[in-house]
Symmetry: C2
Subunit: 190 residues, 2 copies
Amino acid sequence: MNTAHSPSANPHLAELPVESARVFDGKLLHINRDTVRLPDESLATREYVVHPGAVMILPVLPDGRILMERQYRYPLHRVFIEFPAGKLDEGEGAEACGRRELLEETGYSAARWEQLGVIHPLISYTNEEIHVFLAQGLQAGAAQLDEGEFVECIAMTLEELVAGVLDGSITDGKTVAGIFWLQQKLATST
Amino acid sequence: MNTAHSPSANPHLAELPVESARVFDGKLLHINRDTVRLPDESLATREYVVHPGAVMILPVLPDGRILMERQYRYPLHRVFIEFPAGKLDEGEGAEACGRRELLEETGYSAARWEQLGVIHPLISYTNEEIHVFLAQGLQAGAAQLDEGEFVECIAMTLEELVAGVLDGSITDGKTVAGIFWLQQKLATST
């Protein structure tokens, strides 16, 4: 944790836990409801999704194009263009998860993995943290999609990704953040 | 909806609703559990947060710095640097929500509002959509925070924001996406 952002460094902003309870256990989602003490000593309620964490991969093909996915996202009833990503299995390290998800969803393996940072996709009601990896030295193989998983792979240039955000065809938050990261990394490495 | 991403344009990816039920009604979060038909005709379960939508404001001060907030986010037990943002009230338009939230949280009014696009912060388990606005012609006033709301305002340069993502002090997904948008807009307007 960045010390400057810790509760003890921010007593005028910090919310301290008083009580915590699991209030919903679904097939996919798990919700906690906590009572917190606010900086003015009053009490408030916080509800949030409890999440194991995830990995997003920015896979750069040998020709410089980026390996992207098209996937149907039911909550929004449409297909999104996104970077490959997936949830951490229990006890799994972030890079191992990245290698597994990239292979399962796209069939590709990558020789070089570099963690760029983390993204918190939705800080008001989930504790999900996404580890962001740059993956280079890609080699094609056969995808091994889980049963019931339908993903289409496409290769796009960085310019097409940037244009896709500006024209509204790329709106997935983690993917826009990933395009920002990619722009910074590819600009400094050339 | 972008036609190229609609269910009918993607029968090999689309998931069609069979049944929908509200399975959790909390004080803040509302969860639906739907049964869906996958492209191979098998059935699957989807759980997701039902959200009214939100607005994020990219407020550019007269001196070119950006008006940011520091706010404690309980699910992650730390303070985040973020753009001003807030939930749509029932029946409220996106720009009206932006004006209200900017005034409440920072005390500033803006003369010029431009919608840049939308961001979907977490497409796997919420239907939240964030309308992104560039706000210019800012004028200071007194913040009118809701009871129990604790927010600190700071002014940062675009260079500081970009550096903050790269050094890990800015990790909020919507904010990283907003910095990308700001970079594109401020680069093309100079």
